[in-house]
Symmetry: C2
Subunit: 338 residues, 2 copies
DNA sequence: ACCTGTTATGTTAGCGCTAACATCGTGACG
DNA sequence: CGTCACGATGTTAGCGCTAACATAACAGGT
């Protein structure tokens, strides 16, 4: 007859106490064998390991969290879950937390400071051990909640100069400048900047764009929309661009979604890229290297931003000394579209 | 002078007991005022609400989970976090769980049954209240763990006939058949099927493809790769296709990533789409409607699959009667590429 | 006046785990 | 051979919350 798994009567789960009872030892010893094996004698440790496996014991995180005042949760607030950029960031965070047995709680702020505030409020009840935020722009109440929580916070995507803050990202301004300089170097002179979803990073890229134009004594041509960014919107924006600035010979799109949409619309209308109009994007999405022509873009280290931010946060949680600002840079991917 | 927030000495957090103490009532009454307000007199309820707000009390989920044996967590296992398909599914789940105060725990199985097993094992310690799985294909140990856990499980993407299971999805076979019939209707006769990342859904679509060809007495031409699917791979596969089946006049790609890659490669080589080669994809990704020509595809209700699966799971968790299989269908998006 | 039922609140105990402090050997050393 | 240090294990208590069972107060019916 098969062995019966003893189950704690109350909840039907196998608990530490069940394992301890089976071996006629105390629960704390089992606990130690799992958390700090070196503090249990090898013989007993081995017996415990076997019993754990045989009974199918699985530690209960809620109980552990309650006893240790450590939840193993990290709150991650991102502005979008459909944007490839943040999906990659989440991937990096995930891969860094996983081996430490920690868990992400993901909140989607939909590019809204108000929504960010609400998410933060709701998630604080999960007693996260730390918080990963996107960008530097936050509402006063968000900042107050963060300060009150006294939890370590790491900001992703942008860089923060403040001494008491932590951030992992890149200079969006420098990247915008690099792309514009590239277009100038390639001989374009009437360069437009097109932006949707006016978030802070989009604005910083625009600053870089203006700086580069100023260096070369060129005029700016900008189109700003508040609509959420998408490939479809890129098509619309090409129309807008040709209407407002018919003379322009290059366009720097604030992200690759818009750039791809513009490229497709150019193909549709028979506008030669890059002969009649050069296109530059931002983020270097997976598909951008494969369009025809391939899209010139700024590759951002999204996965690594997530990873390093998570690592920095874990260091902070463990009160370890660690650098507080990490500039992971960017790479200009000069391709056929310019 | 500003009021001091009383804090529980042990962990520095404001607890139920702190709120109760401030009002000189018992903790359970505060608990009731929050969970079942109708069981507390209106006057007291109001005072409690105020005190809660003023002290900044935030319920501790770990303690609640421990006391109620309900974690409020739902485990979600998906094969990929970069694939737009699953990102959309997760969005639907998120939106359904959020208002119930429940939380997703996301595990990435990387299209591996072995990995799925490991993830499941690790996450069972979080004591999820239910599990959302992708697809019907699972390792024996995964099935054993699921059975042993006695947790409600809902399968997403595919449909399950078994009476004791729950599933929300669509007939991948029927969808594959619909696409192939469409190509036949449009006059194509030498239709190829190209697949990467040979997961079960890819295989079911192929079955539909073969069935449709058989109906019309046409021959199958298939190319299978185990490599993970990507836009870049689509370009490679076009080369492969032209080499292996130079006569083919239409290609049904197992997903839109491949289809887009093929389209771009056709543009690059000057192969006319759809005149020389028609292209059909699967999933109808956001960009597919905007390429030139726009991509014919099968639109799958990914967001709704996530939503309905989450809803079905919640019903099961609450022991409510509910349908156990939900076919959300698909839509053929006939566009310029065919 | 008594019982009954109902509503509002309180008491007790326990969910599963671990921190902090015992306790009990055992061997090293003077 | 006593003392001390140290390693291995145990005891106790409590993390924050809520289920389950009191208790109290009061209205209404007989």
């Amino acid at each position: 007859m098969a062995e019966r798994k003893p189950r704690n009567s109350a909840t039907g789960r196998v608990t530490l106490a069940d394992v301890a009872r089976a071996l006629d030892i105390s629960a704390i010893t089992v606990s130690r064998a799992l958390k700090t094996p070196e503090r249990v004698s090898p013989v007993l440790r081995e017996r415990i390991t076997q019993a754990v496996r045989q009974l199918g014991y699985r530690p209960n995180h809620a109980a552990r969290a309650l006893a240790t005042a450590r939840s193993g949760n990290v709150l991650v607030l991102v502005p979008s879950l459909t944007n490839e950029v943040f999906v990659d960031v989440l991937g990096g965070i995930h891969d860094e937390l996983q081996p430490r047995g920690m868990q992400m709680l993901i909140g989607n702020t939909h590019y809204s400071l108000r929504e960010e505030e609400k998410q933060l409020e709701a998630f604080l009840g999960h007693a996260p051990d730390g918080i990963l935020l996107s960008g530097l722009d936050h509402s006063p109440r968000t900042q107050a909640l963060l300060a009150e929580s006294r939890l370590p916070v790491v900001t992703m995507m942008e860089l923060d100069n403040a001494a008491d803050s932590r951030s992992v990202g890149l200079s969006q301004r420098a990247a915008g400048q690099a792309m514009t300089r590239h277009l100038i170097t390639r001989g374009y002179r009437r360069i437009a900047y097109v932006a949707a979803q006016g978030d802070p990073r989009t604005r910083q890229r625009a600053e870089g764009y203006r700086a580069a134009l100023a260096e070369a004594n060129l005029d700016a041509r900008e189109i700003w929309l508040e609509t959420p960014s998408s490939v479809g919107l890129g098509a619309t924006l090409l129309t807008e661009l040709l209407a407002q600035h018919p003379d322009c010979d290059a366009v720097f799109c604030c992200n690759d979604d818009l750039a791809q949409g513009m490229l497709y619309e150019c193909q549709r209308r028979g506008i030669a890229v890059p002969a009649r109009l050069a296109i530059g994007g931002f983020n270097d999405l997976a598909a951008s290297a494969w369009t025809h022509p391939a899209l010139t873009s700024i590759a951002t280290p999204r996965y690594d931003i997530g990873r390093q931010a998570a690592r920095m946060l874990c260091a902070a949680i463990d009160n370890q000394e660690a650098p507080r600002a990490l500039d992971l840079g960017f790479t200009l991917m000069a391709r056929g579209s310019s």
